[in-house]
Amino acid sequence: MSAWADVLDDVATRGGTPAQVAGRLRLPMPLVLAVLDHAERLGVLAVAGQGCGSGCPTGPDLPSGCTGCPLVASGPRLGNRRIPG
């Protein structure tokens, strides 16, 4: 299978972050990111932490209606520490 099929299949069945996918498939991170980016552009993939398709805002000043949404940006914010791995 190609990197394209491997990455999408892995994300769809096992889930995970780009780093986890790259680690499981032993693929370079830039290649995994390129696949995910292209898939998102085609509309077959959603990236949690990028806001929903309507372009809702991200960051600490989210409107209350976005509370609990899994697409809310949970990326690095002011002072947040990332857990290794």
């Binding site: 790259a22 990236v47 899994p70």
Partner: protein, 704 residues
């Protein structure tokens, strides 16, 4: 922006009689050094203009290199295009770059004597990503030269490219891809790299070269344009891809990335000859299980994931009710007791006691503000708890696990995300349906969204669960959300097997964020902003609606009373409520307070609580300083209307609030997206279903 017949990009003005210069487009990702290179090539001979038909600014300039032997300098017209990672554009800037490349490919081929070349500025530290863009540009047929940048940074990385000289890397790349690759460090314009780039551009303009082995499986209708004779496409999703177009694009993507992976492998093999052929290159990702892997091993497990999610949600509601509910009661007693008493005394002292003005201010305005204030503890605790879940990255895991459960029932996993948004607020959930590629999927999802229990309904649950089931309030509220999920699943399955059999289920492919520790200061800021927005936004609506309700309560239905001095039962409000109450009697809450509260719930569900507060305050004012709580009055009223089964009636009321129509803002959005007929049909069905469910809950519950 159309991909056909695009207006050509603006070019520098030339001296009369001058030959048409080679057009050069600088294409590449953001922050790869395009603009630095552009400045080095053009110097002061540049100016800024807008791309035709857009507000995107472009820098254009003249790139001149001297020729030995006294011949005129070679001139090229250069355009610095906005950074883009892909020719599959998703922003106005990227669309400008993609259109410019395709336009150059069309015109350069069609018009001899006006050669054009794309200088693709690629990042040496991100080989795969760079080759991906090269493949996309090359398959348009435009002549390409690669300018390799970030060479100093590449030397500092641990990649296979880090230990080789720039010239070696460029030579290896050129051997693999088949087009000229020139290492450039454009800080010094006299650098040979820039002169070598000029020679490569002139050579390719005269004799274009093809990228090696780039025979992709399917053409790429990346512009999303229909071809002649195609049926009209349905409303496009974000990418504009539907049906057969998407299938072609997916096949094309597979071939494209197969080429990229092969090219990366060949470059790596050439630079690291000790690697075994056919192996995927060693990566910097650690093969050992990290903390995230171990946690995800549980949270993403199909059997453990759902129970963990349910447990987390239960804890969330327990926390909210145990921490917030006592504060609600305190605020309610303060506002309806001392504060109302003080205001009444003040108005009496200025001669406005026992007038309609006192009624308007105390029972209308103050009651409205008090209702809004009682929401603050609930919303604050809920937002804080959800903020922790959001920031930690857990919620995306919950969505992934829920997606698998939905797909096992034959429902579309892609519909899951708008539905999850609906549990916060139904209105943005409709906006989130735009991610679904087909109109029928969007309609199906739009019909299910109102069955998700939004946070406004939570205020009603907290009031009633706290009043009737104080020791199990969290569990009761948890049960309401489970019921909401069951209603969504049930309705979704029914619709998929009847009116929406043509809708095909697809998986939700969701890339998860990494775990991280939430930061308390950021969390506090977020909660403060969200609570403030809720109080101001919803607060205005609630206070305004309660003032309208007070006016309706103050208007006599007949001529026997004066304005402001009429019993509720004989007011306009009371007459309307009395007309509806008998319909609700089989559900155990056939009283005017409940009927009227449900009417105001059409405006906003948060107003239901305020409507109760107001109708009890106006109907049974008593002595404000010793007034019973809202909960006490609710118990008395529901016990009376249900024949002593107040708990069952309260449960039935909550079920009715869950299932009946959404607020007017949501109805308006439904009508705007799907039209009057589906909206009106859904409205009727929801009212019937809500009534039937409420009656069933009361009839069964009152017999247990």
């Amino acid at each position: 922006m159309s991909c056909h017949g695009t207006a050509p990009l603006p070019l520098p003005v030339l001296a009369p009689g001058a030959a048409a210069p080679t057009r050069v487009l600088l294409v590449g990702g953001p922050n790869v050094g395009k603009s630095t290179l552009f400045n080095a090539l053009t110097g002061a001979r540049q100016h800024t203009t807008n791309a035709p038909g857009t507000t995107v600014e472009l820098a254009t300039g003249s790139w001149r290199t001297a020729v030995a032997g006294g011949r005129p300098a070679v001139q090229r017209a250069v355009v610095d295009l906005p950074g883009t990672y892909s020719l599959l554009a998703r922003s106005a800037d990227e669309q400008v770059s993609a259109d410019a490349v395709r336009e150059l490919a069309q015109h350069a081929g069609a018009q001899a004597g006006t050669p054009g070349v794309v200088v693709l500025v690629l990042d040496a530290t991100a080989l795969a990503r760079s080759l991906y863009l090269l493949a996309q540009v090359a398959e348009t047929g435009v002549p390409v030269v690669v300018a390799l940048t970030m060479l100093d940074l590449a030397a500092a990385t641990g990649s296979p490219t880090s230990h080789v000289p720039p010239e070696t890397l460029a030579a290896v790349l050129e051997g693999v891809v088949g087009v000229p690759v020139v290492p450039v460090e454009a800080r010094n314009r006299a650098d040979d790299g820039v002169l070598e780039l000029a020679r490569a551009v002139d050579a390719v303009a005269a004799h274009p070269r093809q990228v090696t082995d780039l025979n992709l499986a399917a053409p790429a209708p990346s512009c999303g344009c229909a071809t002649a004779g195609d049926p009209p496409a349905p409303a496009p999703a974000r990418s504009g891809m539907v049906g057969a177009d998407l299938t072609l694009e997916l096949a094309h993507a597979e071939a494209l990335f197969a080429w990229v992976e092969q090219a990366v492998a060949r470059v790596t093999a050439a630079l690291t000859p000790d690697a075994a052929p056919g192996d995927r290159p060693a990566t910097s990702a650690s093969p050992r299980r990290s903390f995230s892997d171990r946690v995800d091993g549980v949270l993403l497990n199909p059997w453990a994931g759902i129970p963990v999610f349910l447990a987390v949600v239960w804890v969330l509601f327990e926390l909210t009710t145990r921490v917030a509910a006592p504060l609600i009661d305190l605020i309610d007693r303060l506002v309806s007791g001392p504060v109302a008493g003080g205001l009444t005394a003040l108005l009496g002292a200025v001669g406005l006691g026992d007038t309609w003005i006192q009624g308007f201010l105390v029972d209308g305005l103050l009651a409205g503000i008090g209702t809004v204030l009682t929401f603050v503890p609930v919303i604050a605790v809920m937002f804080a708890a959800l903020g922790v879940l959001e920031d930690s990255g857990y919620l995306a895991r919950a969505a992934f696990v829920a997606d698998r459960a939905m797909r096992s029932l034959g429902l579309d996993g892609r519909a899951l995300l708008p539905l999850i948004v609906g549990f916060g607020c139904n209105l943005p959930a409709f906006a989130a349906t735009r991610t679904l590629p087909h109109a029928r999927q969007r309609l199906l999802t739009g019909l299910l969204i109102p069955l998700t229990s939004c946070s406004a309904r939570l205020t009603v649950y907290i009031l009633l669960a706290g009043a009737f089931f104080p020791r199990h309030a969290g569990t009761v509220i948890f049960g309401m959300y489970v019921l909401s999920v069951l209603l969504v699943l049930g309705a979704g399955l029914l619709l998929r097997r009847t009116a929406f059999r043509d809708v095909h289920a697809g998986p939700l492919i969701l890339v998860l964020p990494p775990y991280q520790h939430p930061h308390l200061r950021t969390l506090g800021m977020s909660v403060r902003m969200r609570v403030g927005a809720f109080v101001v936004g919803a607060g205005k609506l609630i206070v305004a609606t309660m003032l309208v309700v007070w006016v309706l309560m103050a208007l006599p239905a007949s001529g026997q009373h004066t304005i402001g001095d009429v019993p509720i039962k004989e007011s306009v409000y009371g007459e309307i409520a009395a007309g509806i109450a008998p319909v609700l009697a089989p559900a155990g809450f056939g009283n005017e307070h409940a009927a009227a509260a449900l009417m105001t719930g059409f405006v906003a569900k948060e107003v239901v609580v305020g409507s109760f507060a107001q109708s009890f305050a106006v109907d049974e004012p008593g002595d404000p300083s010793v007034a019973g709580s809202l909960g006490d009055r609710l118990r008395d009223t529901f016990d009376e209307s249900s024949g002593g089964h107040g708990g069952a009636a309260a449960l039935a009321f909550m079920v009715f609030v869950l299932a009946y129509t959404p607020c007017v803002a949501v109805l308006a959005e439904q009508r705007r997206l799907f039209g009057w007929r589906p909206t009106a049909s859904a409205l009727g069905v929801q009212l019937v279903v809500a009534w039937a469910l409420a009656v069933a809950v009361f009839q069964v519950g009152s017999r247990l």
